[in-house]
Symmetry: C2
Subunit: 208 residues, 2 copies
DNA sequence: CATCAATTGGACTAAATAGTCCAAATATAT
DNA sequence: ATATATTTGGACTATTTAGTCCAATTGATG
């Protein structure tokens, strides 16, 4: 899956794996809070308590580390969303999913935005590999939403002619746009409003 | 309006104004293409053919220059959107607005995203003044959309009980989220899809 | 144990970068 | 014309930063 490690043919000791994980974890936190560009390798070293040679032993350089962070964030989010969505088959379930995301983002008053969206915005135009990975992750996330919509459809809560994939795209865009507006306003409200509009639209499709 | 100039009490010659404008123009382009963090002051100097003392004569430092870029991009976009939206009062007019944005973004296959949204994502968490300026600009832009919706309402194309401001927020989020997905996919399609969903929702409110 | 590979510490380098400084040149106003 | 303020050129400095290197240590394997 990940091609971010510089030593693919080599073996990896338990100790080495632990070090690598600590580096990625520290880099993930720093890049989320400070942004990718504003996070220096020395920051990462200090935060993870690791030496420079360890970092360069496990990663080819900063770009490779960034890609590892993307993989890590992606795994975390996909796992979280799979847990949250894979058994949802009602509008009420979707609303509970919305509530959790809004509440969680509200804890920071919208600051830092979506972990995946912020990475995508900063990195997409500067590293083709990273962009592709992010694009795939968005697609996967959208697929989970499409799964919910398909189950709604099967249950009669969405008409058969509704285009599940397009609705999932619209819902994902509402979510990401909401994250951005909330981040800029330092207020979750616009995020809540925009997801609500998308959900209202989905709901309205069966009432006409 | 702008507080980005470092020498507010001083006079400004025609020559000085021209230099200042050249700096801002070059910085705007570079920061859009390369991102804010990846644009160095030396890049700006080279692109604008200006000396270091000129840059520091007109701006307190990089942060002040970034704020001037935000003001500049904001003015450009608000002007463009005012021209495009202030006389729109039909759904068809909104669709033409959508077409223009999608076509324009399609020229770059989605690359670089929305000039304002990308700045917001990169800068909001790192400079409170810049964040506030960006937040105001989004609000102003949203106000133009709300104006269109209010005219739709006056013309009977939107029911009186519809919340124009919330719909404008949702439409703006769909737009920004669409820009981000298009940027990540290097394909405008998701942007078109997400705006279409928002417009379909707005349209559907008068058909129930 | 012996051997080889993985891992680590940390000093070192070269380049990039934001910011400073001052003298010279140009414009403005009286 | 003269005095004053703005504008400009560009060398210079401090720091930061990504990346290199090598010797020493630790772990895996036969």
């Amino acid at each position: 899956m990940t091609t971010a490690d510089s030593h693919n043919g080599r073996r990896l000791t338990a100790r080495g794996a632990k070090t690598r994980a600590r580096i990625v974890a520290a880099a993930t936190d720093l890049m989320y809070i400070r942004g990718v560009g504003a996070t220096t390798l020395d920051d990462v070293l200090a935060a993870s308590g690791v030496s420079k040679s360890q970092l360069y032993h496990h990663f080819d350089g900063k770009d490779a580390l960034i890609r590892a962070v993307i993989d890590h964030v992606g795994e975390r989010i996909i796992e979280r969303e799979r847990d949250a969505l894979s058994h949802v088959s009602t509008i009420r379930g979707l609303r509970r999913w919305r509530d959790a995301l809004v509440q969680n983002n509200g804890l920071r008053h919208g600051a830092y935005g979506c972990a995946l969206g912020s990475l995508a915005s900063e990195v997409s135009d500067h590293d083709a590999l990273a962009r592709q990975a992010l694009s795939q992750l968005f697609t996967e996330w959208q697929g989970l939403l499409a799964g919910v919509l398909r189950r709604l459809q099967d249950g009669g809560a969405l008409p058969p002619e509704a285009s599940v994939d397009q609705l999932a795209t619209g819902l994902m865009a509402a979510l990401q746009g909401g994250y951005l507006l909330a981040q800029t306003a330092r207020d979750v409200t616009p995020m809540a409003t925009s997801i609500d509009m998308a959900l209202a639209h989905i709901e309205s499709l069966s009432e006409r």
